[in-house]
């Protein structure tokens, strides 16, 4: 199990600690993250000082009931929302101090995000949806992008649907497509917010199989779910309640997954 108090003040100290303990540096690190929402009805603190690390190659699941702060946590990590206080480091960069624009760049470079309701563009074909992030990132030529998109669709087992529109696909197929899109620019980490929340249980299992395959290939995944059956498939399971971490559990998978983590994650 990875200690919750693996926590140092400077990056150099963290690096030394990593060398000393033989553990890689976290890809994502949250330090005492607090998020308070102010509304007409008063203020609600969704996160009460969260410390959390996501290491290369792990399949980290954050679970908890509705209202426990899971989605807020994801929004902090992806930079889709800002923390009230605390630090969020992503691939060595201080996301908490970034503007929306800078956060978007960091996200585009390091993360693929998968949402509960897929968030595909209904007016683009399946293949075009996968190519879209590659168009933004400008890492691939049109020809490479098209080939890569087809390979990703093969990986998630829907290559025969490449030319269809998303609405012609089932929910499970749409989420596979969303995973392929999230993988478009070969991100260091995949972040998934309730990716099975709109799917029946058999379809959900098949989608989690895809995440598991990706972990086996060395990818890093942070997955948020309220579903206990989905949660137990992670290599490490963090439980939230009322905006606090109340439990951390490692499963048999974990040591194996972490040791197989990819190099060069400070992309």
């Amino acid at each position: 199990m990875i200690e919750q108090n693996f926590h140092s003040n400077t990056r150099e100290a963290r690096r030394k600690a990593a060398v000393r303990t033989g553990k890689p540096q976290p890809l994502i690190e949250l330090r005492n993250v607090v998020k308070t929402y102010n509304s007409l009805a008063g203020s609600i603190t969704a996160l009460h000082g969260i410390d959390l690390q996501v290491y290369p190659g792990e399949f980290l699941v954050v679970t908890g009931k509705s209202g426990s702060g899971k989605t807020t946590l994801v929004n902090m990590v992806t930079g889709l929302d800002r923390s009230t206080s605390g630090e969020i480091w992503v691939a060595g960069s201080p996301l908490h101090s970034f503007s929306t624009e800078k956060a978007a760049k960091l996200r585009g470079k390091t993360m693929g995000v998968v949402f509960q309701s897929f968030e595909l563009l209904p007016t683009l074909s399946v293949l075009q949806n996968v190519m879209l992030p590659m168009d933004f990132a400008r890492r691939y030529s049109l020809r490479e992008a098209r080939q890569r998109a087809m390979r990703l669709l093969e990986q998630v087992d829907i290559p025969e649907h490449a030319r269809k529109m998303p609405t012609a696909l089932s929910g499970g197929q749409q989420q596979r497509l969303a995973i392929a899109r999230a993988m478009a620019n070969d991100p260091a980490i995949l972040v998934a917010d309730e990716p099975t929340g709109s799917l029946d249980s058999a379809t959900a299992t098949a989608v989690v199989d895809i995440f598991e395959d990706l972990v086996r290939q060395g990818h890093t995944i942070l997955l948020v779910t309220h579903d206990k059956d989905v949660a137990k498939r992670g290599s490490r399971i963090v439980t939230l309640a009322d905006g606090e971490v109340i439990g951390v559990e490692s499963t048999a998978l974990s040591g194996d997954a972490v040791s197989k983590g990819r190099e060069g994650t400070n992309a």
Binding site: N75, D81, T100, E101, A104, E119, P122, S125, F136, T167
Partner: protein
């Protein structure tokens, strides 16, 4: 703002190349349109021979119970779905005869599509969502797009939210941004499938009012709704039941 000049979709295809016939003056012309879905549970015919003509500048609402074929009707007009038989002609373009790539280019330039659940990309800001649509449509020079995008946001009352991400906006605000996005390429037709279906009544009124303004400015609008009261505020209402147009009336 993310720089958005697509290298992948700057298609040289001209929309005028796609026009292949006189249109008898209708902007939208559906002739005996049938749509059958093949499912594991058998076949289901969502549209059973629909004829519909809409003139340019009309504001038409489409009502009917859930499962009556309303969404399918909109989807065959936008080319998101293909008819099993019959003809779909929009602004002189025979949609049913185009291939997928041609449909995508045509749709990006000619139709503004608005959905019940907004379908903004959550990782892009409001103005970036609009720039993305402009990029795909390639109707305006790249240098003019940011200003035009902000102008469209102003039109829908959202210019102050231009640099915010969709999840920090209310549902009504997100739909206003989605309407601005639909207008990105100055389309000949706006389609909206239950645009107020996911909004509280106050936001619904705000969004519907925007459509009324656009109609007054001369935009052609096709709107699916199950809110009969809103439906009667369009110039013309058609009612579908069981895949057929069963009723049609002019309001006011």
């Amino acid at each position: 703002m993310v720089k958005m000049t697509s290298r992948f979709y700057s298609n040289s295809l001209q929309t005028t190349d796609l026009k292949n016939g006189p249109t008898a003056g209708w902007l939208v012309d559906l002739q005996d349109v049938v749509k059958t879905y093949q499912g594991t549970a058998g076949t289901f015919t969502a549209l059973k021979g629909v004829d519909l003509q809409v003139e340019s500048g009309a504001f038409v609402s489409i009502i009917g119970k859930s499962g009556s074929g309303k969404s399918t009707l909109i989807n065959v007009i936008t080319g998101i779905d293909r008819p099993t038989s019959g003809e779909v002609i929009v602004d002189g373009v025979h949609i049913h005869a185009l291939n997928e790539e041609q449909i995508a280019v045509w749709r990006g330039r000619s139709i503004g599509v608005i959905f019940q659940f907004f379908q903004l990309l959550p990782t892009l800001t409001a103005v970036e969502n609009i720039l993305l649509a402009m990029d795909y449509g390639a109707q305006h020079p790249a240098a003019e797009r940011p200003e035009r995008a902000l102008h469209l946001l102003e039109l829908v009352g959202m210019v102050d939210q231009a640099h915010r991400l969709p999840n920090s906006l209310s549902g009504g605000q997100q739909q206003c941004v989605a309407i601005a996005r639909a207008m990105a390429n100055d389309p000949v037709l706006l389609t909206a499938d239950e645009p107020t279906g996911n909004l509280d009544s106050k936001s619904a009124e705000m969004v519907f009012h925007l459509f009324e303004n656009l109609a007054q400015a001369g935009k052609t609008i096709l709107m699916v709704t199950h809110d009969n009261e809103l439906a009667t505020r369009a110039q013309r209402t058609i009612r579908l039941a069981d895949g057929k147009i069963v009723d049609e009336f002019t309001n006011r």
